[in-house]
C-alpha cells in the first residue's frame, strides 16, 4: 500500500467523515482516496476552490461534531496558516496532513523535504500550541493518522501529520488492525460556560445543533465565548491556557522509540531519515549506535534526550537545514551535530556512517 493511501485508510478507520482539500503534489493521493472511499461510507468529500477554503470547511465541519481532515503540501500549507490560527484560538479539533516537499515557494513539487517543521509549530500569528506527528513508514502513515484524531479530540487543537514525500509515496506491506483505539471529544456539560476549561485545561465541546447556542469567534473571548478583545487579563489567561493545555502534557503525549540507550553516539530522527539510520544500525550491529526516533515531534518532549545518559553527541539527519536540531540544542548540553541533506535525496548509509566516524 502507498503511504498516502495508508494515511487516508487510517483516517477512515478513525471515523473521519469529512474531507475538504485541494489538489497538490505530493499529497493528492490522500484526497483521491478519500474521494473514492468517503461517499461509500456515508461521509463527505469536497474539493474546495483553494487551501484557504479547505481548512475553513474542515473547521466548519468539525463544529458539527465530525472528525474532519485535509491534506496538502508546502504552498497549500502556507495558505492554510491563518485559519490554523483560527482553529487554535477557537479550540477546533481537526487533522491537517502535510506531505512535505522542497521549498521555499513552489520549490520541488515531487521531491521530499522536512522543512515545514517550524512552520507547523509557529506558522500562524500569535502564541499557541499544536501537536505534530511524524511517520517513518507506511504502517505509521496509517497508525499515526488514526491516532491524530484522538489527540485532536482530546486536546481540541489542530493536529498535524508532518509526513514527507518519501513516506507519502513509499509502498510497503502493512498490517491493518480490526479496529483502532478511539478517544472521544468530551461534550460540554449543560450549564457550564462553553469556554470554561476543565481540570485538563480543555473545555467541553458544544457541538453545533445540540442547543448550546454557543458563539465561536477568533477574537479574544471570555468563558462565555463572547468577544473581549481589549481586556489584557482575559487575553493573557486565554493564550496561556491554549499553550499550557498542550505543553503541560508533553511528556504524556510523547511518542518515541529508543535503540541502544547505552550508546555514546546517538542519531535523532523523525520521518524518513530514520530509515537510513535503521539501515546503518542493521549493517553495523557491533558499533552499538544509538537511535532516538520521534513519532510525535511537537510538543517537543525534551525528557526523551535523557534516555541516552552516556551520549557524547547527538547526530540529527534531517531533510532541512537543521530545524529540529535547533530545538534539540535548546534542551541538552550534549553537542548536537546537524546533518542536513535536502534537495530530495535521502542521506546514504555511508554518509551517516562517515559522520559518525568523524566523531571518534
Amino acid at each position: 500500500m502507498q503511504g498516502n493511501v495508508a494515511c487516508a485508510e487510517g483516517a477512515l478507520a478513525a471515523g473521519c467523515s469529512f474531507f475538504a482539500g485541494y489538489p497538490i503534489t505530493p499529497s493528492t493521493e490522500v484526497a483521491e482516496h478519500m474521494a473514492a472511499r468517503l461517499p461509500k461510507k456515508g461521509g463527505v468529500f469536497i474539493q474546495m476552490e483553494d487551501e484557504l477554503a479547505s481548512i475553513a470547511a474542515v473547521i466548519g465541519a468539525a463544529w458539527t461534531g465530525a472528525r474532519a481532515m485535509t491534506a496538502t503540501s508546502g504552498p497549500g500549507f502556507s495558505l492554510m496558516m491563518e485559519n490554523i490560527g483560527f482553529a487554535a484560538m477557537t479550540e477546533t479539533p481537526c487533522v491537517i496532513v502535510n506531505i512535505q516537499r522542497g521549498g521555499p515557494s513552489t520549490g520541488q513539487p515531487t521531491m521530499s523535504a522536512q522543512a515545514d517543521m517550524m512552520q507547523c509549530r509557529f506558522g500562524s500569528h500569535g502564541d499557541y500550541s499544536i501537536i505534530a506527528l511524524s511517520p517513518a513508514s507506511v504502517q505509521e502513515m496509517y497508525e499515526l493518522t488514526a491516532g491524530a484524531f484522538n489527540l485532536a479530540d482530546r486536546f481540541r487543537v489542530p493536529v498535524f501529520l508532518m509526513a514527507d514525500e518519501i513516506v507519502g509515496h513509499m509502498r510497503e506491506r502493512i498490517e491493518i488492525p480490526d479496529s483502532v483505539p478511539r478517544v472521544e471529544r468530551r461534550p460540554l456539560t449543560p450549564g457550564v460556560l462553553p469556554f470554561h476549561p476543565g481540570e485538563d485545561l480543555v473545555p467541553g465541546f458544544p457541538r453545533f445543533g445540540t442547543g448550546h447556542g454557543v458563539h465561536v469567534t477568533g477574537l479574544t473571548h471570555d468563558e462565555r465565548g463572547y468577544p473581549c478583545a481589549t481586556n489584557p487579563k482575559v487575553h493573557e489567561e486565554l493564550v496561556r491556557r491554549l499553550v499550557e493545555k498542550v505543553e503541560s502534557k508533553r511528556h504524556e503525549i510523547a511518542d518515541y522509540r529508543v535503540t541502544n540507550p547505552d550508546a555514546e553516539l546517538v542519531f535523532i530522527t523523525y520521518g524518513s531519515p530514520a530509515r537510513t539510520v535503521e539501515q546503518v544500525i542493521h549493517d553495523n550491529p557491533e558499533k552499538k549506535i544509538g537511535h532516538l526516533r520521534f513519532r510525535i515531534v511537537w510538543p517537543f518532549p525534551e525528557n526523551a534526550l535523557r534516555e541516552f545518559p552516556r551520549a557524547r553527541a547527538f547526530l540529527v539527519p534531517e531533510q532541512n537545514l537543521g530545524q529540529m536540531a535547533r530545538e534539540i540544542e535548546r534542551h541538552t548540553p550534549v553537542p548536537v551535530i546537524r546533518l542536513p541533506r535536502f534537495g530530495g535525496a535521502l542521506h546514504t548509509p555511508e554518509e551517516l556512517l562517515a559522520a559518525m566516524e568523524a566523531l571518534k
Partner: protein, 262 residues
C-alpha cells in the same frame, strides 16, 4: 415569537455606530428566520470579518465568527457535514467581494443551500472607511481621497453569473421587501443571495455629502427602481436614470444544489 427572541440580551448594547443600517438588516433577517419557522437549535449564523460580521455575536443560536473573507467556506463545511442545520451567512462588501471573492463565486457555483445576507455599505467601516470593491466611482474614502478611480462590482450580477438559485437586492429603506426577500431566500433550496444596501454615516455618508444618516436612506429610496420597471424602460428604449439602484428579485431558478436537507 418575534425577532427579539433571537437576540442575546446580555450582549447589548451592540458596537454599531449611531445611524448604522446594519441593525435594520439584522432585524429583517431575524424576522424572516422567525416567519420561516426555523428552530433555534437547528440554525447556525456564520460570518467573516467586518461590521456586518459582528451580527452573529448578538444572536442566541450557535454561531461562527470566522476569518476575513472565509465565511462561505466555513459555512460550506457546516452545511455539507450536517444538512439538517439551516445556515445563514452575514457578510459585507469587503468581506464577500474583495478578500472573499473566490469563495463567493464558488459557493454560488456549487449552489450550497445557504442564505447569504450581504450588508453592502460600499466602504470598509470597521477599519475606518477605506474604499471597497463596491465603492462607487468617484466616491470619497480614506484610500480614495481624490475619488475612487475603480469601477465597482455589481454583487447581484456576480451571484447570478456564478449560479446562485435566488438573488435579490433591497436597501435599509425597504424593510418589508427586504424581510420578504430573506424569507424567500430561506425557503429556496440552493444558495440564496440577498444584497442589502446600507448607510454608513460614520465612514461613507459624512465623506460623500450625506449630512445625516437618513440622507443616504433617502438616496436609496429615490434612486431605487424595481427590476420590472428597469426592464420595461429598457424594452421601450427609454433611458435608465444614472445611479439607479436595481431592486427586487433578480433571479429565482432551480439549478442543482448541494447540502439541501432531505
Amino acid at each position: 415569537m418575534t425577532f427579539s427572541d433571537w437576540l442575546r440580551a446580555d450582549r447589548l448594547p451592540h458596537i454599531f455606530c449611531a445611524g448604522c443600517g446594519n441593525g435594520t438588516v439584522i432585524n429583517c433577517t431575524l424576522n424572516a428566520v422567525d416567519q420561516a419557522g426555523l428552530e433555534k437549535e437547528e440554525t447556525v449564523f456564520v460570518s467573516g470579518i467586518g461590521c456586518s460580521s459582528r451580527a452573529p455575536g448578538y444572536i442566541v443560536t450557535d454561531s461562527l465568527h470566522t476569518t476575513h473573507g472565509r465565511a462561505l467556506a466555513f459555512a460550506t463545511g457546516i452545511k455539507m457535514a450536517n444538512p439538517a442545520l439551516s445556515v445563514v451567512v452575514f457578510t459585507g462588501d469587503g468581506d464577500l467581494a474583495a478578500i472573499g471573492g473566490n469563495h463567493f463565486i464558488h459557493a454560488c457555483r456549487r449552489n450550497i443551500d445557504l442564505t447569504v445576507v450581504c450588508m453592502n455599505n460600499m466602504i470598509y467601516g470597521m477599519t475606518g472607511g477605506q474604499g471597497s470593491p463596491t465603492t462607487p466611482r468617484m466616491a470619497l474614502s480614506t484610500t480614495t481621497p481624490y475619488g475612487s478611480a475603480e469601477p465597482a462590482f455589481d454583487l447581484c450580477e456576480l451571484a447570478i453569473a456564478a449560479g446562485a438559485n435566488y438573488v435579490s437586492r433591497w436597501t435599509s429603506y425597504h424593510v418589508k421587501e427586504l424581510t420578504r426577500a430573506i424569507l424567500a431566500g430561506l425557503r429556496t433550496p440552493g444558495l440564496s443571495f440577498i444584497e442589502a444596501m446600507v448607510q454608513c454615516p460614520t465612514n461613507f455618508g459624512r465623506r460623500n455629502r450625506y449630512r445625516q444618516p437618513l440622507d443616504q436612506v433617502e438616496y436609496f429610496k429615490t434612486h431605487g427602481m424595481l427590476v420590472e420597471k428597469v426592464r420595461r424602460l429598457q424594452e421601450e428604449g427609454q433611458e435608465i436614470p444614472p445611479e439607479t439602484i436595481v431592486l427586487g428579485e433578480l433571479a429565482r431558478r432551480n439549478r442543482p444544489a448541494m447540502g439541501v436537507k432531505t
